[in-house]
């Protein structure tokens, strides 16, 4: 254990994990405290929906810029800016007096939080070799599943002990400070620029051959003209290859469908549990927790399977995830009042597990680093997350419109069928993606009797 902790790449990963964890703790605490905020500010359901929508709007709109900024100034600075900004906006939210002020500050909070994911993803892609990148990024992604499970036990007791939800915001605003100290101490943008990294570790990350050949200083792969101008682990990747890229476009679409289903499901599950399954509120609330528990298990196993069983191939995990998620949610759409709780838990656990096997759930940083180059992960991921956030924003009003009022109460079946359809569409998007490890689509590889294809990055073909 000591040997692992002393290696720089694990220290960088641990810090990126901490930043992602506090990011999610901070953003999900608003949802956990929402019943108190609604009473305190006298908000209607429509106003509450608008407050939530403005967060997603801020988060989504900033993604393309966040990617550029990360690649331009480096992930360390982008990460520090994001953590610092959302720490400050968190306490400013404690001082709101009406829903309009809360919506505006939620927009600014969403913008601040939006800069974090591209920075964390790029650090993992740059610091880990291909062989262990999937597992490393899987560990990074556990943060977004653990934080929502823990947040009710952090935010709600503070509010109840102090008598005001505002103190939860005040206290959680301070969680960002140790993260900033950790970023300052542990993070360096690139391994070869770190004076504390050993030569042995550099060889593990890049390989001896790559280290010997490349000693360039241009860190932006879009600005370099020759491979020798770049640092180890990078290749020349012009803007056209980053943005006019079929795989990035398919990831954008897959992310849209994936997060539409995931956020639609988790946001509405407690309401579904109470209104359709007639469960007590507390039990209905646990349905969403089961989804997150499934996602936690899914993120870990997906990364391990991708690196080991699938030999660092990424798309097979997403192909399986889309289909299994569709099947699990379709199964759940048949549930009516009186369904066994164990059956409901099983279906939603599988939905959460397989839902995390998606291009916004995991493996996106390794995939983009391998289909493009680690130095272009920020910009390309900005495009992908933009698609996902658009899906998240659409999910809320779409789900509300799909709930049918029947004499027996609201019926969520149609909404669940649309979520299942999203799983199938996500699968179809992933069918068209190139698997860089086998130089063709993964299904093409299987159907051809495991023959590798001829795909190559455009820049390599041109040179």
């Amino acid at each position: 254990m000591q040997a692992i902790l002393s290696q720089r790449r694990f220290q960088v990963l641990g810090t990126a994990w901490l930043a992602w964890f506090v990011n999610y703790l901070d953003r999900t605490k608003t949802a956990a405290l929402l019943p108190l905020i609604i009473v305190s500010l006298g908000m209607t359901t429509k106003q509450t929906g608008l407050v939530l929508f403005w967060f997603f709007l801020g988060y989504a709109s900033v993604q393309p810029f966040a990617g550029f900024l990360t690649d331009l100034v480096g992930p360390k600075r982008a990460l520090a800016l994001a953590v610092g900004a959302f720490s400050v906006f968190t306490w400013t939210m404690a001082l709101v007096g009406n829903w309009q002020e809360l919506a505006l500050r939620n927009l600014l909070f969403g913008i601040a939080q939006g800069f974090e994911v591209t920075a964390g993803a790029r650090l993992t892609a740059t610091w880990f070799p291909v062989a262990t990148r999937g597992r490393a990024f899987a560990f990074h992604q556990t943060a977004y599943t653990i934080a929502p499970i823990l947040v009710p036990f952090v935010a709600v007791p503070i509010a109840q002990a102090t008598g005001s939800w505002r103190w939860s915001f005040m206290v959680i605003a301070f969680f960002g400070l140790p993260v900033l100290a950790a970023i300052d101490h542990f993070i360096v943008d690139r391994p070869e620029r770190d004076p504390r990294v050993t030569k042995e570790e550099l060889r593990v990350i890049f390989g001896a051959d790559e280290l010997r050949k490349k000693r360039g200083e241009i860190t932006d792969p879009a600005r370099a003209h020759r491979a020798e101008e770049l640092p180890p682990g990078e290749r020349v990747t012009p803007y056209s290859e980053i943005f006019l890229n079929r795989n990035v476009m398919l990831m954008f679409l897959a992310s849209f469908f994936s997060l539409l289903a995931s956020w639609g499901l988790t946001t509405w599950l407690p309401t579904y549990g109470v209104q359709q399954l007639k469960l007590p509120l507390l039990v209905a609330g646990t349905l969403a927790s089961v989804v997150y528990l499934g996602a936690l298990c899914g993120v870990v196993t997906g990364g391990i399977l991708s690196d080991t069983v699938f030999g660092t191939k990424r798309t097979p995990i997403w192909l399986l995830g889309g289909l299994v998620m569709a099947a699990a949610i379709l199964w759940a759409s048949t549930f009516r009042q009186g369904v066994s709780l164990l059956t409901a838990y099983a279906a939603f656990f599988i939905a959460g597990f397989s839902g995390s096997w998606a291009p916004t759930g995991q493996l996106f940083a390794p995939y983009l680093a391998e289909i493009l180059t680690p130095g272009a992960v920020g910009r390309s991921l900005g495009v992908v997350v933009l698609g996902g956030m658009a899906g998240s924003a659409v999910a809320q009003p779409l789900t509300a419109a799909l709930v049918v009022q029947t004499p027996g109460g609201p019926d969520f079946s149609h909404a669940f069928e649309v979520f299942a359809l999203c799983g199938v569409l996500l699968f179809l998007c992933c069918v068209g993606m190139i698997e860089p490890r086998v130089r063709r689509t993964y299904l093409g590889y299987l159907l051809s009797g495991r023959k590798e294809g001829t795909w190559q990055p455009k820049s390599i073909v041109a040179s």
Binding site: S87, W165, R166
Partner: protein, 78 residues
Amino acid sequence: MAAKIYRRLIGAVVFLIAAGAHGAAAAPVRPRGAGPADPFADFGPLTGTAITLDVINTVIVIYYIWRIWSRREERAAG
């Protein structure tokens, strides 16, 4: 005479208690943790503490961002 005054006094006290209870019942019940909409009324006497904490938080954030942004990473000797 005194008994009559006592009865009226007791009646008035009972009326006041009943009126107070009715008013309390008519007011919306706030769950613990949902204070008033005005943040300064909500923080009450701890408003100064809250603002001091905000200032401390912001100063530390600015210090770290300045420290991190002002450093330039050089290529390691190795």
